[in-house]
């Protein structure tokens, strides 16, 4: 199952935690992070994705970044998370167009074996639908869309991501949880903004996408997974790999 992660990345702590969770599940082979796109026309946002990919040993991939619209500013959370990180995304051309990227990536999945999680504004999703060659791909490959702002004519089942999804949960991440990494973005962000607002909906959405809509999300589960260190990757290595 491949998951496309789309967010206004870097604006809210929820998203940072959600991606940590998603990548953790990826390292346990429960899913694959298929693509990461941001609706913020902000290089730091794209760069932060790259940090995650390297940190969790994910497959190197291009990052989708929207180049217009809202969200240009770097909030304090984002600034903290990227501080001191080595990022190779230096300009717009180091990123990809989100709609083409998502379409390309979806084509590598079997029918019904991909899902999209979008926690922020639905601009990238709308662009995706607007791309003529993408519509049939979305229809056949995407099992479900979890979105906060789904476009009206989305062709597959949609689950709306709302703040209520996180209701009843009290999981509070601590910077020390992420100490297994030298400069984990969440740890850096928490250090700067220990009281950042959390509604946990994004993390719940991640678990529902990967483990099924009926999966019961509890604080214990979040505690166990969100900050956990990723399992080492097993891959066939060839010479010069």
């Amino acid at each position: 199952m491949g998951v496309v992660f789309d967010a206004s990345f870097g604006d809210s702590l929820d998203d940072l935690l959600a991606l940590s969770l998603l990548y953790l599940l990826d390292s346990k082979n429960e899913c694959r992070v298929a693509a990461m796109t941001t609706t913020k026309p902000n290089l730091g946002s794209a760069g932060l994705y790259e940090v995650y990919q390297k940190l969790y040993g994910g497959r190197p991939m291009a990052i989708g970044m929207c180049t217009s619209g809202q969200g240009k500013e770097t909030g304090s959370l984002l600034a903290a998370a990227v501080e001191g990180q080595t990022i190779s995304v230096k300009s717009e051309i180091d990123t990809a167009e989100p709609h083409g990227l998502i379409r390309n990536v979806l084509q590598a999945y079997h029918d019904g074996n991909a899902a999209i999680l979008s926690t922020g504004p639905g601009g990238n999703l709308k662009d995706l639908l607007g791309l003529p060659t993408a519509l049939p791909v979305v229809k056949s490959k995407v099992k479900v869309l979890y979105a906060a702002d789904a476009p009206a004519n989305w062709p597959t089942p949609v689950v709306k991501v709302t703040a209520e999804m996180g209701a009843g949960l009290n999981y509070q991440p601590k910077a020390e949880d992420f100490a297994w990494a030298e400069k984990h973005p969440v740890a850096l962000a928490l250090a700067k903004e220990p009281n950042a607002k959390l509604n946990r909906a994004a993390m719940v959405a991640v678990l529902k996408v990967v483990r099924g809509a009926e999966f019961q999300v509890t604080d214990a589960v979040l505690q166990e997974l969100v900050a956990a260190k990723p399992a080492p990757r097993q891959r066939m290595r060839f010479f010069g790999d």
Partner: protein, 448 residues
């Protein structure tokens, strides 16, 4: 400048790629006919494709923007022309990737290079997509004697399969007339010569007109016969005969065009004898003829599959005895990478020779190069890892004052190469909304 060669009655042979001078002909029009006409010159388009990827470390210029610094090693042969070339980075063909079909990157990257779609993984019921040069040829081909020309230098393998489940049709052809009909390249310079400039035993204009009349009659006759036949056939059989019919129609169109413009072109070179053993000689012969063909406006759309995708051709001409394809799986051994780079540079050298000829071919107050868009590229970037992004691509020429050349343009990552094709099609006068997997036009090419 083109010179008129004296044609002698005696025939002489010279060295490799030897030529036969034609017996004297009567009605020969100078080759420069089209070039001397006033008015805007037609835009020509060509694709030169090299296989098995390119050593990107020695291809990609260090910086974006104007090519002021010295060009990297593989591009060095083009140094004298660097104001006329544009290097493009980050163009991608997603259709070349495995997606769901496993191994077969060579079949896919070549079969889908000009069509922007992933070819079907099969030996028999081949399906790629119509290639963009044919879309252009369909639109503007009626203006020239030949709607398009397809060339190559390497003959196809005669037996066995070609790439992990993909039919040889994908790696042996660059241009596709329809999703099931590839256009095989001409390999023999003699054949190309005869096609463009006529066969040796030339006829008088009356005789030629008579022959054309007979041919049209014959074609009408067989078309009628075929239609009668088709009525009782199953769908697949009918498709085969449709290919036949459409090929006949295209010859009819050629005949019509040839009639309107009845002159024979004097190419200013002797007819090649056959296929030269030497790679550089072969390359030169073929491209020289295309230069003349452009000047005489015999065609405006050319695809050139230099050697097959996945070829194992050794390059003894430069002292490399190992096959090209095995070398590109170099295990990161420096000696092997070095050989690959040498092959890449050798190819670029031949290409630079052609660019030089195109630039020297004057047209009005510019030259053929300025009025053309010659794309030189490969279907893979890293031949070892079979990557399909950041495909090495450069355009020589300005497309008739449209491209601001002399720089490197880096697109966003994963930008489909089909975006470039859409832009080029615009320039060739073909308006399409979508092509292949394009997400829009390629920005930044113009701004002249």
């Amino acid at each position: 400048m083109m010179t008129r060669k004296a044609l002698s009655r005696r025939t002489m042979l010279r060295g490799a790629g030897a030529a036969i001078a034609l017996p004297a002909m009567d009605a020969m029009a100078p080759a420069l006919r089209a070039s001397q006409l006033p008015g805007p010159k037609p835009v020509r388009m060509a694709f030169v494709y090299v296989p098995n990827g390119i050593d990107m470390r020695n291809w990609t210029p260090a910086a974006d923007g104007p090519l002021t610094a010295e060009l990297p090693r593989i591009l060095k042969p083009l140094e004298p022309f660097k104001k006329d070339i544009t290097i493009l980075s980050n163009l991608t063909h997603n259709g070349g990737r495995a997606l769901l079909d496993g191994a077969g990157d060579h079949g896919r990257c070549c079969g889908g290079y000009l069509s922007g779609v992933q070819p079907r993984k099969t030996f028999v019921d081949i399906k790629a997509g119509i290639s963009m040069d044919q879309i252009v040829a369909n639109q503007i081909g009626s203006k020239t004697r030949f709607a398009s020309l397809e060339l190559g230098l390497e003959d196809a393998r005669q037996a066995g399969d070609c790439d992990s489940g993909y039919s040889c049709a994908y790696t042996n052809n660059l241009a596709w007339r329809s999703e099931t009909q590839p256009l095989p390249p001409i390999l023999d310079p003699r054949v190309l010569f005869e096609r463009l400039f006529g066969t040796g035993a030339e006829l008088s204009p009356e005789a030629r007109a008579q022959r054309a009349k007979y041919r049209r009659s014959i074609l009408d006759f067989v078309m009628g016969d075929t239609r009668k036949l088709e009525a009782d056939l199953g769908p697949t059989d009918r498709r085969k005969l449709d290919e036949y019919l459409s090929s006949i129609r295209s010859i009819e169109q050629q005949l019509e065009r040839a009639e309107k413009d009845n002159s024979i072109i004097n190419p200013g070179m002797d007819k090649p004898y056959g296929v030269p053993a030497d790679f550089a000689e072969h390359f030169k012969l073929m491209t020289n003829m295309i230069t003349v063909a452009f000047q005489a406006d015999l065609s405006r759309v050319v695809t050139f599959l230099v050697t097959h995708e996945g070829t194992s051709r050794p390059y003894r001409e430069i002292g490399i005895a190992d096959g090209h394809h095995p070398l590109t799986h170099h295990m990161n051994k420096p000696e092997l990478i070095e050989k690959v780079t040498q092959i890449n540079t050798y190819h670029a050298q031949q290409f630079a020779g052609w660019v030089e000829k195109l630039k020297a071919a004057k047209e009005g107050d510019s030259n053929v190069l300025e009025n053309s868009m010659i794309v030189y590229g490969a279907g893979l970037s890293d031949g070892n890892r079979h990557t399909h992004e950041d495909l090495p691509t450069l355009i020589a020429g300005n497309g008739g004052g449209y491209i601001k050349s002399g720089r490197r343009i880096t697109a966003r990552r994963e930008t489909p190469m089909s975006n470039l094709f859409l832009t080029m099609m615009d320039r060739m006068g073909v308006q399409v909304d979508h092509f292949g997997d394009a997400t829009g036009r390629l920005a930044g090419l113009d701004l002249a």
